[in-house]
């Protein structure tokens, strides 16, 4: 941690050094234009709510679902695959959670008011930043473009949610001039326990989160700029009702320095290079659960540094991005069990025995406009993945003689063909890719999974998971509306999943046995989604979504956490300064559940949500006030992906106010 301080002090000084007197330069236009294009503005809000958490926003994406262990830090499943199979990055930077029990997915370390967009890519198209099977989720930070004059922008958002007394304040401000740009954000959320549809309080579902970010960019020449970014996130006293322990503190420091060079009248348009560093610490706390027989300390640390360098090439009908991506991650997790007689010696082991992961990859993505109607996208990555377990003797207990160092080559390839004419569009594509086992899958040691109640053991010599993927989409659009259907199918060789081991005995007292991460011969996954929208009137819009997925292992048994048929339908009506939205969403009964992995049949549910907003001006500042209710019927339900069948939130009335400054 001392090192971090040092780096930060250096960064801080550096940031200060950027503050040289602003000089006017009339020939900045090129850079400004390109940067404006780069800074794509998307609003992070859902149909229903304008003040959402990152999780709620991601949940509005068709191919993302969530494993929920409580009200906070949901684990995003992309294409119904868990986080080991997807790449979650922040502006392309790799970050890895420090919790062995996945209490801190990367998405829990950012806040909506510092993000401009979330870029979700399905399957091998998401392999640009590193090997993947499911795809990638890239959280894009706000980055204001250089302007001509000096401008200040900002927004402040506050709100209250009545179900769990969540109070939040989100503020962000940006400054832009022709030489210097600054983006800052600060946010604070605090929530108490929520109540379920039976009006029962769900204990240990409180949370508190503080997040702040700062980005400074300085234009070094007409065609180049330097940008320094930092995010600091701190969550404390976070309850996980589905788990036998809570979180006392998790902290992330995410920093980067980037240099961008633009080129005029050349094939190369932009060269963007970034070095980054992030450190995450995560301290679980089970003292809040007196029913626990054993008190355990379970701290975890994850430190990553990396390099990202990319060039964009563009000609009239061809665009390409070439990227070098390298990172080094060290993941450490400890467990210390306390005997009932505290005078006795404590019991210690590593659940991640100092595991280093190094990855270096060269990727390329190309887009070729064959004609005005058709486009070919293709690309690939060749990566080298290296793992090293410092205390390999932990892994040797279950896998004697397993390799301490392991180098893997990870190729990823994809191609897709898009065609559109007169409102119709269609695409077909395919992909092939490898991924390396995650730290837990490779080196995890007695990681307790409270879902199926097994202790999980990693295997350093697991084979690469190999995915063969096919996808297709078809759609139609006109002025009144559109409809779009997407399917994808994954055939995944050496699919990694936990299987009961005949040897060893549980370490965690709630556990019923030991499972080892094992490669199945193969598994298959099928995802389907359909999306339609229609403008009934100019100010009355309808939207509907239907998704279905099926996952099977080699013996045609169900895979866990596969979303049953789900639907969402919403109406939006606006009249002058008023807007009213209402939506129904739900899942059908989960018939295809997997008892082998601790799942049981989850009944169907339907939720009705409604919200209204009013836009007005306070001294020329646009202000929006929103009032709404989720789960209006106060339905008691839990979804297929609620860990341990914890009930979801009952009726929740929410209010929020947003002022654009």
């Amino acid at each position: 941690m001392k090192r971090i301080t040092l780096i930060i002090l250096v960064l801080g000084t550096f940031a200060n050094a950027q503050n040289t007197p602003i000089k006017r330069d009339s020939s900045d236009v090129v850079l400004d234009e390109v940067l404006v294009i780069a800074a794509k503005k998307n609003k992070i809000e859902t149909d229903m709510k304008m003040a959402v958490s990152v999780d709620e926003f991601l949940a509005s994406s068709d191919n993302i679902s969530f494993i929920k262990r409580g009200a906070y830090a949901w684990e995003p499943l992309l294409n119904n695959m868990s986080t080991e199979r997807s790449n979650v990055t922040i502006d392309g930077m790799h970050i890895f959670g420090a919790c062995t029990d996945k209490m801190d997915p990367v998405t829990s370390y950012v806040e909506t008011n510092s993000l401009s967009d979330i870029d979700v890519k399905s399957g091998q198209e998401g392999s640009m930043h590193g090997a993947t099977v499911a795809g990638s989720i890239d959280l894009k930070r706000k980055s204001t473009a250089f302007g001509i004059g000096q401008t200040w922008n900002g927004a402040y958002q506050a709100g209250f949610e009545f179900n769990n007394n969540q109070f939040f304040n989100l503020g962000n401000v940006s400054y832009s001039s022709d030489k210097l740009v600054a983006d800052g954000s600060i946010s604070y959320r605090k929530a108490k326990n929520y109540t379920d549809g039976n009006n029962d309080e769900v204990e240990h579902s409180q949370y508190e989160k503080f997040n702040t970010s700062l980005g400074l960019a300085y234009k070094t020449t007409n065609l180049s700029s330097v940008r320094v970014d930092a995010i600091f996130d701190k969550a404390q006293d976070v309850g996980y009702p589905a788990l036998p322990m809570d979180l006392s503190l998790s902290r992330a420091l995410i920093t980067s320095v980037a240099y961008k060079q633009l080129f005029e009248d050349k094939l190369i348009k932009v060269w963007d290079t970034k070095v980054y560093f992030n450190a995450i610490e995560h301290y679980m706390d089970d003292t809040t659960r007196p029913e626990n027989l054993v008190h355990m300390d379970m701290p975890g640390w994850s430190t990553t540094y990396g390099l990202l360098s990319k060039v964009n090439l563009k000609t009239e009908n061809y665009a390409s991005e070439i990227q070098i991506n390298a990172y080094n991650n060290l993941s450490i997790a400890e467990m210390r069990m306390y005997p009932q007689d505290y005078s006795e010696t404590t019991m210690f082991a590593y659940s991640w025995p100092w595991v280093t992961t190094r990855y270096a990859g060269l990727s390329m993505s190309n887009s070729w406009d064959i004609s005005e109607k058709s486009q070919l996208n293709f690309g690939g990555t060749l990566g080298v993945n290296y793992n090293y377990s410092k205390y390999i003797e932990f892994n040797w207990i279950f896998h004697p003689g397993a390799s301490q160092e392991k180098t893997r080559f990870l190729p990823n390839l994809y191609a897709s063909y898009k065609f559109n004419t007169a409102g119709f569009d269609a695409s077909v594509g395919g992909g092939y890719g490898h991924r390396a086992p995650s730290v837990s899958e490779g080196y995890g040691y007695y990681i307790y999974n409270s879902f199926d109640r097994y202790d999980y053991i990693g295997n350093p010599d697991l084979k690469n998971e190999i995915s063969y993927e096919a996808n297709a989409s078809a759609g139609f659009k006109n002025k009144k509306g559109g409809i779009q259907a997407q399917v994808n199918y994954f055939y995944i060789q050496n699919y990694i999943i936990g299987r009961i081991l005949s040897q060893g005995s549980p370490m965690n007292y709630q556990s019923v046995g030991v499972k080892g991460y094992t490669s199945l011969d193969h598994a298959t996954l099928f995802n389907f989604s359909m999306h339609a929208n229609y403008s009934i009137l100019d100010n009355l819009h309808w939207k509907g979504t239907l998704t279905y997925a099926r996952g099977l292992d080699e013996n045609k048994n169900n895979l866990p956490f596969i979303r049953p048929l789900s639907y969402q339908t919403s109406l939006h009506y606006s009249y002058q300064k008023f807007g009213i939205r209402t939506s129904f969403n739900g899942d059908l009964k989960q018939i295809n559940y997997s008892p082998e992995y601790g799942e049981d049949e989850t009944p169907s549910y339907t939720n009705w949500n409604i919200s209204a907003d009013y836009t007005f001006y306070i001294k020329n500042y646009k202000t929006v006030f929103q009032l709404g209710a989720e789960n209006v019927f106060n339905t008691y339900y839990s979804t297929y992906a609620d860990w341990g069948n914890i009930p979801r939130m009952g009726r929740n009335i929410f209010t929020s106010l947003k002022i654009d400054l």
């Binding site: 069990m337 009932q340 010696t345 019991m347 004697p400």
Partner: protein
């Protein structure tokens, strides 16, 4: 901007200040155990022209297994005595004057490269005000015999990984099992080495003291020591480890096997001792059930360790 700078510094000082320190694993392993690898002088005895230097790990004799080195030097020529027949016999005397011995190597082996005579002793008790221990060392140079009787101190072994147990087997023989290695185990596969010895019951009444036939011990041959390590802590619910290997005799007359410790702390090595004929001399099968909150029953034959 200055303010910002200040803000940044303050934040990161806060960030870096209250981190939970990572565990120093190597230090963690050595809190309960100290590994001694250096042989140091325990005592030096002079007899005639010869000085005998008795060396043991850490310069101390402990209850349990001790490897000993004797270096015999001619004080006149300053040369080490080579290839002599050196005998070694430890004798305990209790308050009533009863004498007994313990498993030991009577005839010491000469090691030409290191110039010492090596052997071992498994001290079955510590020496204190009521129990004293003496070493009877004898050797011959030419026609001249030397016999030395040296009182020694046997200290308590605080490292439970060198613990021992003594028992009477179902064949009414007296057995001794002493842990030899590892001194400082890890959360790992550990090569477990133990010495298993038997008291050779005298067939005749004692002659003149010290009558060797009364104090005869030998390493048992081709026995099997079945191993089932478990954590005795109740909350660990009879937790065990996989891939352990039962102990069998190797050429060094010691028994070798593998024990896996899945975490640090208290462990019980549950044993079943079988002789070469496959007859169980001592020890019972233990439950393999995982019983959180309830301490698992130990075998009749076990040794507790801690690391």
């Amino acid at each position: 901007m200055k303010r910002l700078h200040f803000f940044v510094i303050v934040i990161f000082v806060v960030v870096s200040s209250c981190t939970v320190e990572k565990t120093d694993y190597e230090a963690e392993l050595s809190t309960e155990t100290t590994e001694y690898i250096e042989y140091e002088n325990v005592t030096s005895i002079t007899s005639g022209d010869y000085t005998i230097n008795l060396e043991a790990l850490n310069g101390t004799l402990y209850k349990g297994y001790n490897e000993i080195h004797l270096n015999i030097i001619n004080t006149v020529t300053s040369e080490a005595l080579q290839n002599a027949d050196v005998t070694f016999l430890p004798i305990f005397t209790d308050a009533n004057g009863n004498t007994s011995s313990c498993p030991h190597a009577y005839n010491l082996k000469y090691d030409a490269t290191e110039d010492y005579y090596s052997g071992f002793a498994v001290f079955t008790s510590e020496s204190d005000t009521t129990v004293s221990c003496q070493l009877f060392i004898a050797f011959q140079v030419g026609t001249q015999s030397y016999a030395i009787n040296q009182p020694i101190t046997v200290e308590e072994q605080t490292n439970l990984n060198l613990n021992m147990t003594a028992f009477t087997g179902s064949d009414n023989e007296q057995y001794f099992i002493a842990l030899v290695a590892p001194q400082s185990p890890g959360v790992a596969e550990n090569d477990l080495v133990v010495g298993i010895y038997k008291y050779n019951q005298p067939t005749e009444a004692a002659g003149t003291f010290p009558d060797l036939s009364q104090y005869s011990y030998s390493a048992v041959q081709d026995y099997t020591l079945f191993l089932d390590p478990r954590m005795p802590e109740a909350s660990m619910g009879n937790h065990s480890s996989p891939n352990n290997v039962d102990l069998t005799m190797e050429s060094d007359s010691l028994y070798h096997g593998v024990v896996n410790y899945t975490m640090t702390g208290n462990w019980t090595l549950n044993f079943i001792l079988q002789n070469a004929a496959g007859e169980t001399l001592k020890g019972t099968e233990v439950s393999t059930e995982f019983t959180p909150g309830i301490e698992g029953a130990k075998s009749e034959l076990y040794i507790d360790i801690l690391f």
